[in-house]
Amino acid sequence: MFFRMLIESFVRRRSRKLLAVAAVWIGLSLVIGLLALGLDVGDKLNREMRSFGANIQLQPAEAAVDVRVGGYELVAPGRTVYLDEADLPRLKQIFWRNNILAFAPRLTTQARLAGRSVPLVGTWFNHHVLLEDADPFVTGAAEVFPYWQARGAWPMNPESCLVGAALAQELDLGPGDRVELTTDQRSTSVRIVGVLTSGKDEDEAIVAPLSVVQRLAGLPGKVAEVQIAALTTPENKLAERYGRDPQSLTPAEYERWVCTPYPGSVAADIQNAVPGSSARVVRRVAETQGAVLGRIDGLMLLLGIFVLIASTLSIMGVLSSAVLERRGEVALLQAVGAHRADVLRLFLTEAVAIGLAGGVLAALTGQVLGGWLLRVIFDSASEPHGVLLILAPLLGLLIAVAASVPPVWRTVHQQAARLLRGV
């Protein structure tokens, strides 16, 4: 009879129940949509903000003190230490490997070109990093420095190179020209395939595939530094404290620090993975990202809370008035002998069903809504969030129960006689 009542109550009062389910559905869709957006927005913004450049820099431990003259690292074999190119695939094997979005090594030397000395920069272009148990990771300068622009093409083989825009103008070089690069060790002929505008010192250099520069500099398999673009979480108090004094963290706090992709934790992870290296956070980039993300996160949180409260209130309004409408029925059930618990069980089960139904629907449409917002704002696709698929029905259930139980509770406790007289 209990289930019969439940079923009849749903079947024969379809429109009321649909209204209740719709209230939960619509209200929670907004919340879930916003949450879905919130979960993605940090990630998306972070990727967007990669246009600021690399936020972590990897150098040989002993070269952490910059030796720069006129903006160029001095390459002096025998005195300067280098990292091994062969160690770099490790960046995609660390704990935070999925947060490593792109990286590009760099080796610089001076070469003679048309009778002058010009800086020669070696890096990766469209490089396939071979990984043991995953597809090759394709990365390079174009990925790390989205602001690099090449008129012409990117060098795709060891016979081609880019010429910096300023140098190109000075020497009247352009795509298609062949140049002879000479160092103390040897010389090679390469073809210019593009003119590079980076806005930085590369504009006055020849930029060639790493292997070319390694050969010319007599440093096979060596790199001077690696620029890394990593997905990180804005630094907070905890990260700041670690930065000031790692010893001040309790073990639990340390655990949390390790398990959060702060720029510092990711850098530490990288440094541990690459022998003889020193990773440092490029503060300017990391801090700008952090500040913007921190503000966006705060905004999303505030908006989320606001929408959650507003939705909860309106859902509760609809559901509790649906229950209050049935006070006469509550009194009647008691009059024919139902105990308070019997009545509560009936209404509770209905509320659970309504909350779950509305919540499940909201989990689906909310994600669609979030995905749509993401597409409109960031022009990028989103993946469904498993958390939300559980959270939405749970929220629906909680809100529906919270909305239904108090009015039923109050009703069963006092007013049966008065309700039956229809006052």
């Binding site: 009879m1 209990f2 019969r4 009542m5 009849e8 109550s9 079947v11 024969r12 009062r13 006469g328 029925e329 009194a331 009647l332 059930l333 008691q334 009059a335 024919v336 002998g337 139902a338 105990h339 308070r340 618990a341 019997d342 069963v412 406790h413 049966a416 006689a417 039956l420 007289r421 229809g422």
Partner: protein, 248 residues
């Protein structure tokens, strides 16, 4: 009479604001007796019935029904008491809108003991509603709804039946049908307490108790005056044992 069906001693029900809907009532009703509660609107009939079924509690005095002191019961125990002992008939029928006639009857079975659809259908047959068993209340006339309400009240074989203006919302034909049901119940030996405005229904009772301003009075006037064979108050003896009413 070693046990009375109803025993009220100095029962008062005051509402916040000072209205004494029932005011110092003493009343004894014997087992098997048919009592009509009469009095003008607002005189406290409904309030008194709700004190008898345990849906309401007096602010003062003692209420014993079927030997049970209702003041000792909490809300759930009162519900148990009702489903075991009392059949309730309402002026507004109070059927569950989304349950069919037979399901409304089964509802009372469910809270009492076990659902037995055959028996519920039989109960509807006894109030001449066999062909309406699977209709929703909204598809039934007032008279039909009242008979569903009566079938529900009777399904658990209650010892005492409390009816609040059972014919108040019915036309003459339906009122007649309901009256016949009460006469049958009386013959079966059940205790009937029926609050009514209707002099015809009142006249059929063995005893008329007149209320005015929450108190029991001698004469049922103005609107109950012509209906009173005799109005008696507290401790009225059960002297008119046999009612000489057959179908009229």
């Amino acid at each position: 009479m070693n046990q009375s069906a109803v025993l009220l001693e100095y029962v008062t029900r005051a509402y916040p604001g000072g209205v004494r809907a029932v005011d110092g009532v003493n009343l004894k009703i014997a087992l098997g007796e048919w009592v009509a509660l009469m009095g003008p609107s607002g005189s406290g009939k409904t309030t008194l019935l709700n004190l008898l079924d345990g849906l309401d509690r007096p602010t003062d005095g003692c209420v014993h029904v079927m030997g049970q002191n209702l003041l000792q019961l909490d809300v759930d125990e009162a519900a148990t008491f009702r489903r075991e002992n009392v059949g309730l008939i309402f002026q507004q029928f109070h059927l569950v809108s989304y349950l069919t006639a037979v399901e409304n009857v089964m509802l009372a079975q469910y809270y009492h003991s076990m659902v037995d659809k055959q028996e519920a259908l039989l109960a509807l047959e006894r109030v001449q509603l066999a062909d309406r068993a699977h209709h929703l209340p909204s598809q039934l006339s007032g008279g039909e709804q009242q008979r569903v309400c009566i079938a529900r009240a009777l399904i658990n074989d209650p010892k005492i039946i409390l009816a609040d203006e059972p014919t108040g919302n019915l036309d003459e034909d339906n009122a007649d049908r309901v009256v016949k049901i009460f006469q049958r119940l009386h013959r079966e030996g059940r205790t009937l307490v029926i609050a009514t405005h209707d002099p015809d229904l009142g006249r059929l009772a063995q005893r008329i108790v007149c209320l005015r301003h929450g108190q029991i009075v001698e004469e049922c006037s103005p609107d109950g005056s012509d209906a009173a064979p005799r109005a008696t108050g507290a401790g009225a003896s059960h002297d008119r044992d046999v009612m000489h009413v057959t179908a009229s």
